[in-house]
């Protein structure tokens, strides 16, 4: 086995319910109670016990092909896997290595890069973060100004990244940097990998309005990375970034977070007695249908990925609808809480303790990050609906 550990069996050959039972049993028996349904992004050290177990079991990369050490799950099985995680409130770890770097290296990396990085991603020996956004390059990402200059057999990187999730925990960062200042915007950008422990990197947490500090500014001051950490061609990073964005849109468009919201909403309804109110019921069923039909849409796109076909610009619909549905669900959670909806943290409601505002805050930036929903609508208007530009 070149990458990771061998799979116990061919999961896709199993009946859906048999597979679901195996996943459920593993989670219920081993996932730590104290980190179920967290209201903030947890740090790596809070989750390392569970995810190191997943790594040893070969379950850390459910969507990766088995030849690269993943579980090789079909779209339908992957959805079941996510559903079971959500049902139990399994927390997300700093998983950029699994969801972003791995797939990029499989598609654009060299054999040597795959050999160097994939095993460490699979073992959680390396934790990755994303260096994309900059203070003056948000929606207009291609205007980024962080520079990388080749100096002998090393790139020297200077600049500033921001909104970097869990950079505190990361051992490595993937960076979009300008390597050709003379070229047109998109044409002069390269995709580089760098070690976070080298001199010149400073991480400064950003306190957010929910009181958390999972987001960071990352300053790069003469940071050196070996030239063989260039992924894809020199100045060819934008294509990779764009393909990752399509990939990110399907991930941000998965029904995971809305499913989680629905479960919280249902708990609140049970605890408060709102479930007997026909007005609540109508809104609740509307939201359940939104999530059910998001699932139908997600299976359509996951099927395209599963068949190895390219995703079109229409995949933006997933990100838009998943995040806006998540917000509508968390709006109703807080509204159903009534006056209790003003209280931070775990709130005693009926005979239960439920964090009402946690999901609400969690859902707010989802329509901003990963390409704001306004940008997604622009993309659909121009590239799918072929409406004229100004």
């Amino acid at each position: 086995m070149k990458y990771g550990v061998p799979q116990e069996q061919d999961w896709n050959a199993l009946d859906d319910e048999a597979f679901r039972a195996i996943v459920r049993a593993e989670i219920e028996a081993n996932y730590p109670q104290e980190v179920r349904y967290p209201s903030r992004r947890l740090r790596w050290q809070e989750l390392s016990g569970w995810y190191l177990r997943m790594a040893e079991k070969g379950w850390i990369a459910p969507a990766w092909p088995t030849e690269y050490g993943g579980m090789g799950l079909s779209p339908a099985k992957l959805l079941l896997f996510f559903e079971e995680q959500e049902r139990f409130g399994v927390a997300r770890f700093p998983d950029q290595g699994i969801v972003m770097v791995g797939p990029v290296l499989m598609r654009y990396g060299t054999e040597e890069q795959r050999d160097r990085y994939l095993p460490k991603i699979l073992s959680c020996g390396h934790i990755w973060c994303q260096g994309y956004s900059e203070p003056n390059a948000g929606s207009d990402l291609a205007s980024l100004r962080t520079e990388a200059k080749l100096d002998g057999d090393e790139f020297v990187i200077n600049g500033q990244k921001t909104w970097t999730t869990l950079a505190q925990d990361a051992t490595h960062i993937f960076v979009l940097a300008r390597t050709d200042p003379a070229a047109k915007k998109q044409a002069g950008i390269s995709f580089l990998l760098a070690d976070m422990t080298v001199p010149g990197i400073t991480v400064r947490p950003i306190r957010d309005i929910a009181g958390h500090d999972e987001l960071n500014e990352v300053f790069l001051d003469n940071v050196r990375t070996s030239a063989d950490n260039l992924v894809g061609p020199l100045h060819g990073g934008w294509t990779i970034a764009k393909s990752l964005l399509g990939f990110e849109r399907i991930m941000l468009g998965s029904p995971k977070l809305p499913e989680f919201g629905l479960q919280v909403l249902q708990s609140v309804a049970e605890a408060s007695g709102a479930g007997d109110d026909p007005v609540f019921q109508d809104r609740f069923q509307q939201l359940r249908l939104d999530v059910a039909h998001l699932g139908d849409l997600y299976r359509h796109f996951a099927g395209i990925v599963g068949r190895g076909e390219p995703l079109g610009s229409d995949v933006s619909i997933l990100k838009i609808f998943a995040t806006e549905t998540f917000q509508r669900i968390t709006d109703l959670i807080v509204e159903t809480g009534g006056p209790l909806g003003a209280l931070q943290g775990d709130v005693l409601i009926g005979d239960r303790t439920i964090d009402l505002l946690g999901p609400y805050y969690k859902s707010r930036p989802s329509t901003i990050y990963g390409g704001s929903n306004e940008i997604q609508r622009n993309i659909i208007a121009k590239q799918v609906l072929e409406l004229p530009s100004r």
Binding site: E270, D276, Q281, D282, H293, R377, E386, L387, P388
Partner: protein, 374 residues
């Protein structure tokens, strides 16, 4: 059915049901509210036999094929009662004594005998206000049924209460004691109000006996919900296409108005609802065709789909009207055919609110009080 076969069927249906507002207006001007000749041509295409099992002389092509045809009919705003027809087929092919009813199923599928269901009440539930009572060997029907498609039908399948249960009866349009009033729906189509004043039918007019009526009617309802949702999807296809074309070509302030971001984002929201309905239709068809899905799963998927399609079509058509400006409100332009069709189909067999409720009742949600399933 394979995707390529369905795509071919869609092409055939699109070539048959061309977008032609004048044709629709002419069809609506008939007493029936549709064109009987077109109905026969649709039957000749085999479309009324799609859901009839092969061993009953049908094509047995399944739900996917029916919805592919329905979508194209919706795209052309056809007033011909295709969705209602699929429900009739779902009942006739489940008749008690197959041999006795086979000729009528064959005549219906061929388009020569027009039959319609009197089955819903004004809330869109399967409980019309008709009562059946035995009188010797005969059955006496009393009461009233609303919102019956095709008032010019040669015969009606009448769902009636019989004691504690329900049964389905065949009633010819000329039976003594049956009065047929016509009501006009938003799209200009017709629906019948049937009044049964002691209508006497022989006991062999019983198509489905009480033991199986609930099951057969529920399935027929689910079929009609899925097929009418597919028609609504076709309505959305065309209203969206008309709007996009208008935004690309209408010039104000010296630019095509489709270049304005405020309008682009609104039309993207219309498109999103169309795509969701399409995905929900695919999901519902696969649940319906899955022999391992439970009856409740099937009905929940059908109701969930109808709730989506009804809401999405009304939203999309209202946005289309706004984005067109004044011209969309003019009958002559043709957007109104879709606007009005959306109102009609959204309400038929229960609107979005009704089907959100049925979806909630049928799909398990632990701890939230559920009512009885319809």
């Amino acid at each position: 059915m394979r995707d390529e076969t369905l795509a071919m069927l869609a092409d055939v249906a699109a070539a048959f049901a061309k977008v032609d507002g004048q044709r629709v207006r002419r069809a609506l001007s008939h007493d029936a509210g549709f064109d009987r000749k077109t109905w026969v041509e649709m039957a000749e295409q085999g479309w009324l036999s799609i859901l009839v099992p092969e061993d009953r002389g049908g094509l047995g092509l399944g739900m996917g094929a029916s919805t592919v045809v329905a979508r194209q009919l919706g795209r052309a705003a056809y007033p011909e009662p295709f969705a209602a027809g699929t429900a009739v087929v779902a009942c006739l092919s489940e008749a008690e004594s197959a041999a006795a009813w086979e000729p009528r199923l064959a005549m219906f599928s061929a388009g020569v005998l027009l039959v319609s269901l009197a089955w819903q009440n004004v809330r869109g539930e399967l409980d019309p206000g008709v009562t059946a009572a035995g009188d010797g060997d005969d059955i006496i029907l009393t009461g009233e049924s609303r919102l019956v498609a095709a008032p010019t039908a040669d015969a009606f399948l009448v769902l009636a209460r019989l004691g504690e249960g329900q049964a389905l009866y065949w009633v010819g349009r000329d039976e003594a004691g049956l009065a047929i009033d016509v009501e006009i729906s938003a799209d200009g189509g017709r629906s019948a109000r049937l009044r049964f004043d002691g209508v006497r039918v022989a006991s062999d007019a019983c198509l489905i006996a009480p033991a199986r009526t609930a099951e057969v009617m529920r399935r027929a309802m689910d079929v009609a919900l899925i097929v009418s949702s597919a028609e609504l999807l076709g309505v959305m296809d065309q209203a969206l296409e008309m709007t996009l074309e208008y935004l690309r070509t209408r010039v104000q302030f010296n630019v095509p108005i489709g270049s304005f971001q405020a309008l682009q984002h609104r039309v993207v929201d219309m498109w999103i609802q169309r795509q969701l309905t399409e995905a929900a239709l695919g999901g519902a068809v696969s649940v319906f065709d899955n022999p391992r899905a439970s009856v409740d799963d099937r009905s929940a998927a059908a109701s969930g789909l109808k709730a989506r399609a009804a809401q999405a079509a009304l939203f999309l058509c209202n946005q289309a009207l706004q984005l067109h400006g004044g011209i969309g409100f003019a009958e002559e332009y043709g957007l109104g055919l879709y606007f009005n069709r959306a109102i009609t189909l959204s309400a038929w067999l229960g609107n979005a609110g009704r089907h959100r409720r049925r979806f909630g009742e049928l799909s398990s949600t632990v701890g939230v009080t559920a009512g009885g399933a319809a």
